[in-house]
Every structure is written in C-alpha cells, then in structure tokens.
Amino acid sequence: MVGNELANNQNPLWTSIFWRLLRQDRQAAVSTVVLGIFLFAAIFAAFVSPLDPAKTTNDTFQPPSSQFLLGTDDLGRDVLSGIIYGAQTSIIFGVLVTLTSGLIGIAIGGIAGYAGGIVDDFLMRLTEFVLIPPRFFLALVMAALFGTSLFYLVIILSFTYWTTMARLVRAEVMSLKERSFVEAAKAGGSTPLRIFVFHILPNALPVIITQMMLTVGGVILLQAALDFIGIGDADRISWGSMLHNGQHFIRDGWWMVLFPSLALALLVLALNILGDTINFVLNPKTRSSQIDRAV
C-alpha cells in the first residue's frame, strides 16, 4: 500500500501518519470505508444501480422488499437507485464547489496576506461582508435569480463558501512570509507569484487540505437543503429532491424520507470524522474543527 512505501521514506509524511492512525482509530477507519462506498456508488452508478432512478413504474409506494431493497416512491421510482445517483450529485457538487471556493479563498487570502496594508484591509472587509448574509438565504436567492444549472449553482455555492479559506490562508501567509526561506527567495529575485506558489503555498497545505475536507460536508448539506426546499433543478436526481418529494408522502412511505436522510447523514458524518482526523494529524496544535455548515 501507499502507506507502507511512505512509512519507509526517511521523511515521515503526513499520509503515512494518516494511514497509521486509520489502523488505530476505528471511527476514522469506518468513515473511510463509508466514504469509499459512496464514492464507488457515485462513480459506477450506471453499473451498481439496480434500476433507472428516473423511470416511473406502476409499482408505487412499495415498501422495502427483496425486489425493491429500499422501496419505491409515489411514481414507482426505485429509492435505492435514486440514492445511488443522488450520491453522484452530492459528491460532484461537494468536490466542485470545494475546489472552486478553495481556489478563490486561496487567491484572496494569499493576496491579502502577502500584500498587507490597504489591500489586506479591503479584502478582509470584503470577507467579513460576505460572511454576513446567511449562506442558505444568499444561495437560495441567487439560485432563484440566476437559475440552478450545474454551472450556476457551483458558482453560487462557491461564492458563499470561500470566506473561511481566505481567512485561514491569509493568517498562514502572514506568518510564513516573514520566514527566512521566503526572504531568501525574495533576495534571489523570485516574483511574488512564484514565491507564493512554490514557497508559501506548500507550507500552507496542511491548513488548506483540512479546510477543504471540512468544506465538502458543508457544501453537500447546503446543496441538499436547496433541493429540499425546492429551488433546485427538478430534473436532477439528488437526495435533497428525493426528500422534497418524500416529505409530502411521509405518511404513505417512511422509506422515501428515511433512506435519503440516512445517506446524507452517513456521508456527511464520515466526511466530518475524517476531516477531524486529518486536522488532528496535520495541525496537531489547533483544536477540534467542525464542518462549515450553513443549515
């Protein structure tokens, strides 16, 4: 395994520590397995899914049985297949928004921390400002006005999620830029961009990776909440929209709300525990962290 190779390396990389921890920490190990199952289901949805999740049939409101493992909904759609394809939606949004918002946050935090002075002041006021409107309401209004195609929704969610990363990266950059290796690079004539990308960023990675890990769960919850309230794209199969539909029929079929809810809870819980573990390994001095939840 990767872990063994790295463990033999003279440089004790954090990945090796992480693997060792996984072997000792049962919670983290179980979370990794759960995350793995969801990832597998999402990637191979077309092969794993027993039925077409969008196909309506005459088997409406079927309780869980050997034929329909998690039952069917009001239009006879298979709940298990919906959950498998829903994992795709959640993970795609979680990953895309985390990467996009992460990049925005790194750029803004990096510029603020490196430039200092008025630029820093301005960017930090901007960050504080974006933190004021509740993420859920902001995303909801923007989704209502701009539309909820994948592209727009990723932009909208990223717009509401970059702030924490910006603050963290700024703090890291401010402490790193005084260090002698940065001074050396400066004296050597490196451009600020080069210094930032090659000298500062690698040292800020632990904080960045942890924050990204903790962002995924929050984004997944927020996206599910938007679909749940009914602002999302009705054609997109997601846990949130299954719950939106299911809550009207909560008396006729508990399985329509229980299973998508469990899937959502399980995935976010796994991400949360892993985020905590990674935080513990990478930033041992900081205290326990939490996902950046909005709902």
């Binding site: 509740p134 309230i229 809810s261 959502l264 709902v295």
Partner: protein, 331 residues
C-alpha cells in the same frame, strides 16, 4: 462584576468603541442593500421581473419600472432602491397583495416562537453539558456527549426533523405532526395554549438539537482549555468548592468565545428554522419562503435575504459591543 460592568459601560473608551461599531454596522447594512441591488441587476433577465415578481401584468411592470426609475441612469436607480429599502419599503408581494415588509413581519412571530426558546434551551443545556463533560474528560458521559455533538453536527436540520417526525409523531403518536394548532378543534384558553405548545415541541426540539451540537463542542473545548489556566489553580488553591470554580471562575473565561459563536450562528439557526418549519408545515417564515418560491415572488425572497442579513449584522453588532464589557482582560 456588576460594578465593573457599569464602570466600563459609562467609560469614554466604551463610548468610542460603541460609536465606531455603530458606524461600521450602518455601513454594512447599506452595503448589504447595495449588494442586493447588484444581484438583481446582474442576474439574467429583466430586473423588473425581480422587483415585481413573476405574476404581474404589463401595466404593473410599467408602474414598477417607473417607481424604481429603471429608465434612469444606473446610479439614480441605485439611489432609488437604496433609499426605499432604508425606509423599510421592501417592495410589494403580488401573491399576497401586501407590502413585503408586512408579509414578512406577519410571519416573523411564529418563527421567533420557535427560535427564541430553542436558543435559550440549547444555550443553557449546552453550557451545563459542556462543563460537565469537560470536567469528566474521556469518561463514558463525555464520550456520549461527544458522539451526540458530532451526530447533531453532521445531520442536516431537516433530516433531524423528519427522523423525529417519523418516530415520535407518526410511530408513537406523542406529538401532532403538522401545523401550529389543531385546525379541527375549537380550543380556548389553556387548552389552546397546550395545543400550541404540543405543536411547537417537535420543531423546537429539532432546532435545539442542531444548536446544542454547535454549542456543546465549543463549550467543551473552551472549558478544557480554561481549566488548564493558572487562575483556576489559584481558585482551587484558595479552597473554593469545585462547583464554584467550574461554574463561576472557569465558565466566565469559557463563555466569551461561546457568546461570539451564538452571534455568528444566528444565520445558520434562521436557515435551520426555515427548513424545519417546512418539515412540520409550521406557518412561519419557512412556509412563506416555500410559497414565494412556488409563486416566483422574488420581492419576498429578496426581502427575506435582507431581513435575515440585517438580523445577523445586528446580532454581531450587539455581541461585538458587549464583548469588552464581558471580558475581564479588556479594561
């Protein structure tokens, strides 16, 4: 403490701090409105759709166009929008045939009935459970509290609501499933109050779980940190009882960060409340939002964004202002 509190409150430096915070918050609110204006104009489509809502006729659209000066230069439009919102005019809701501010204000009490008790219960129990679990670090109780906090923190509010609804209401029939009162019963006085509280119980419990999970974890970490400080050793060395050390001395040090968290969590709490309301068909701002989405009543949605943003700004203002009064380290 009260003596220091009032001495600080009437001090000159506090006056300056207060005035500066007030100015900052005012600027913030103005910027929030400007920001709203920008989203309306950047969004694809005609701004008049978003200012009027999508069920008006041509005549009404012309009226709105004239009112917001949409044929005027950009800055004039901004000024018209800003000044009307600052006057409390959030537009007119076509689907409710009422000004948006009235629609929102009429639904706010129901949501506050949910949010205020939830904050109170969650804060109180979060403090007690946090202190007790920090006191018995790594005990079974501590691990249970931790697991609860982690779980409550990972579950979306609406899922918690639906779990409780399925279990306590539909399975065991302990609580009514929907609404704020029983429509089919003619109740008065105490009976009405009891009925109302029964309906409130589940949505409120859901919100308590969400908020409690947040407060618990922070409270526990803060307490553990504070308990390692020298002044706690000093208090113990003086021979003070453990309860007194924990709940008077340590708590005061740990509460300050928790207070700021409660302020910054208000946005999350309101979002959670709105989602929980839709689970229980509770007639507050959540139901209003659902109706507004269905009717494409944009003025109501934009109004909700402004109102919730301003509430968060206000909460931050209040907490920032009293922060130096609470913190003994700040003179």
């Amino acid at each position: 403490m009260p003596a220091t509190f009032s001495r600080k409150f009437f001090s000159r430096s506090f006056g300056i701090h207060f005035a500066r915070r007030l100015a900052q918050s005012t600027v913030l609110v103005v910027l929030l409105i400007v920001f709203n204006f920008f989203i309306i104009h950047i969004a694809p489509g005609d701004p008049v759709d978003y200012l009027a809502g999508q069920s008006g006729d041509q005549e009404y659209y012309d009226l709105i166009r004239a009112k917001f000066g949409l044929d005027q230069p950009f800055l004039t439009q901004l000024w018209v929008y800003l000044s009307s919102v600052l006057r409390g005019d959030l537009g007119y809701s076509l689907s409710h045939q009422q000004p948006v501010i009235d629609v929102i204000l009429s639904r706010t009490p129901a949501t506050l009935m949910l949010v205020i008790p939830a904050i109170a219960i969650a804060t109180f129990s979060g403090i007690v459970l946090g202190v007790e679990s920090a006191r018995r670090q790594n005990s079974r109780f501590d691990r249970f509290v931790n697991a609860f906090a982690l779980l409550g923190h990972s579950l979306p509010s609406f899922s918690i609501g639906m779990f409780l609804l399925l279990l306590l209401s539909l399975q065991f029939g302990l609580f009514p499933a929907q609404g704020a009162t029983s429509a089919n019963k003619e109740l008065q006085g105490l009976g009405y109050a009891a009925d109302f509280l029964l309906h409130l119980a589940l949505p409120c419990l859901t919100l308590v779980i969400v908020q409690l999970a947040q407060i618990l974890r922070i409270m526990r970490t803060e307490m553990i940190e504070v308990l390692n400080e020298n002044y706690i050793n000093a208090a113990r060395a003086k021979g003070l009882g453990e309860e007194r050390v924990l709940y008077i001395h340590a708590l005061r040090g740990a509460l300050i960060p928790v207070a700021t968290i409660i302020g910054s969590d208000l946005g999350m709490l309101l979002s959670g409340a709105v989602l929980i309301e839709t689970v229980f068909a509770y007639p507050g701002l959540g139901r209003l939002m659902l109706e507004a989405i269905a009717a494409r009543d944009y003025p109501v949605l934009l109004g909700l964004l402004i109102i919730t943003s301003v509430s968060v700004a206000l909460a931050n203002f209040v907490i920032d202002t009293i922060y130096p009064l609470l913190d003994p380290r700040i003179k």
